[in-house]
Symmetry: C2
Subunit: 330 residues, 2 copies
């Protein structure tokens, strides 16, 4: 299979229009190694994969050029990594593992063949981190480049939902948070450094397997942080009918975040509380003792006080955080 | 659940931008009834569904505004029907049944709320034809309206692939073919009639269940007709290493097709041989006796003759068909 993963080469300027639909599909599929759980891979009306149980987890995410990524900010392989990570992370945050991914790709005809093969490499490499395969999809023409990724997987037990948090639970997080937002902030101002945060934006380091470990440890709720920590814990609080209070002191502000905050004149805590591209997993646990050791405790769950109906569902040291609380698409 | 399916009403001119991302998602999910096989529906990181086996079938198709549909040619519900049908038909053509569908929707902010709810109704109604549920997806902003549908299902036995056709097999088809292409042809010339073919274009009548019946009857290969009958049988011939010869006399040219052909001055057989939006299922069977009775025998499978390597893999009464052989996206 290694032979398939060597860099693809095309005559300079070769585009999708030159390759044709089926030629382009051949470029993609040649770079997508198929794992042992794939019974029918790309090339038929549908793919068939073997799950661990007869209960399938399914999640779909869409990325649009110029909105979720920029081709001058990220290489094709980076965008492939990030597109796959977004859906793989959703399955992770149910306590599951992804087995297969399909990709719906709408692309302009002047897209370069080398870009397409880079995207396929990035998608396949990210999937390989959890042992998943890109088993099929659809390629069509569009003036706007758009990537839709669907992940299919399963979990051994029951999935961990957003709705299970209970007063008295502790809130804990696994994975890096705030780095991608800092990277996006510097890219947006025309810089390419600090390199560590730019790389974090380009390729999230998702804590795959952490969701399943949390489920085994008795997590009462889990969510993927994609809208921002405050916003996503807001989803948990709403679904569970609880309040969440985060502790400011629990957030270490890593050096690169402090550097970006100082350079841009912003509070680096904002990256941690409202950034959305790192995809850590955050959850609630019945006690501090039940939190797996590589998770960081960041807060606690409280009962909703009827008198506080109009207040925020997620607070920082008991008060509303004075800043933006996550990205809204409309 | 019926109460949820009554027409949604919004103040005139309400758009996605007015609803906001989460308001728009509420509009969608309120219209998506969840079946018994749905363990976790919309609203969490992923959905969970119960399949018949631990082997999952997965298929994804993408529709782009102005390319796969036009909002002045089809109502929102029609487009929902057709978007769902495209992926459900892929699972049908493996011999399977779809249990769940996810939808990746990229939409402009000025899209009307009523259009969105119509789309959801069409998606849900088409899925209901096979007992499937729309269990989740993603909604994001884009200048170009784009719909990506992923179907997840399973089949009780082994799926029927494109690669199993053998010399001596008979070729048979179930479902209407050519009507949608005739409808598209008249719409493209500014007409809205004959109504029967325009309706066929707007809402395909997919022979759901026919794939599973064919599998049970011993079909050696199956394919969904989406690129055109000649083009798709070409995929079967290539994958199976065979030739396919179709019999012209086996195709009844229904009256509306003849009417459109006469009005536009084209051979209506072209709609049948190269049209792609009806989604019948075509397959090969080891004998005429093994073909289910509601299928039409349309040809036979022959061995590839090495001398004919450069000739067409699919012929009509032994000769190349003199016409376009299916839609190419690039």
């Amino acid at each position: 299979m290694d032979a398939q993963r060597s860099p693809a080469t095309f005559p300079t300027g070769t585009t999708l229009a030159d390759l044709g639909e089926f030629g382009a599909i051949d470029v993609l599929t040649a770079r997508l190694a198929q794992g042992d759980e794939v019974l029918v891979g790309p090339g038929d009306d549908a793919a068939e994969v073997r799950l661990a149980t007869e209960r399938a987890l399914v999640a779909t995410d869409v990325l649009v050029d110029g909105r979720h990524f920029r081709r001058d900010w990220s290489a094709a392989a980076d965008i492939g990594h990030r597109a796959a990570a977004q859906s793989l992370s959703d399955i992770n945050a149910m306590g599951g593992r992804t087995v297969a991914v399909t990709v719906g790709l709408a692309a302009p005809p002047d897209l370069e063949a080398g870009w397409l093969s880079g995207l396929a490499d990035g998608l396949a490499e990210e999937c390989a981190e959890v042992g998943a395969s890109v088993v099929g999809g659809d390629l069509t023409r569009s003036d706007v480049l758009m990537i839709s990724v669907t992940a299919v997987g399963s979990c051994s037990g029951s999935p961990v939902l957003r709705s299970g948090a209970r007063p008295g639970d502790v809130v804990a997080m696994r994975g890096r948070q705030g780095w991608a937002a800092a990277g996006l902030a510097v890219l947006g101002r025309g810089f390419r450094s600090p390199r560590a945060v730019v790389e974090a934006y380009r390729r999230p380091q998702v804590p795959y397997g952490a969701g399943a470990a949390a489920a085994a440890a008795g997590a009462t709720s889990l969510i993927d942080v994609s809208d921002g920590l405050l916003a996503d814990l807001g989803h948990v609080a709403r679904a569970s009918g609880v309040l969440v209070d985060l502790r400011r002191e629990s957030f270490e502000l890593d050096e690169p975040l402090q550097a970006v905050g100082a350079a841009l004149g912003v509070d680096p805590l904002g990256f941690v509380l409202t950034g959305g591209d790192d995809h850590p997993v955050v959850g609630t646990f019945p006690s501090a003792e039940s939190v797996p050791e590589d998770w960081r405790v960041i807060g606690a769950v409280h009962a909703q006080d009827e008198a506080l109906d109009s207040g925020p569902l997620v607070t920082l040291d008991g008060s509303a955080y004075d800043g933006s609380t996550g990205y809204r698409h409309f």
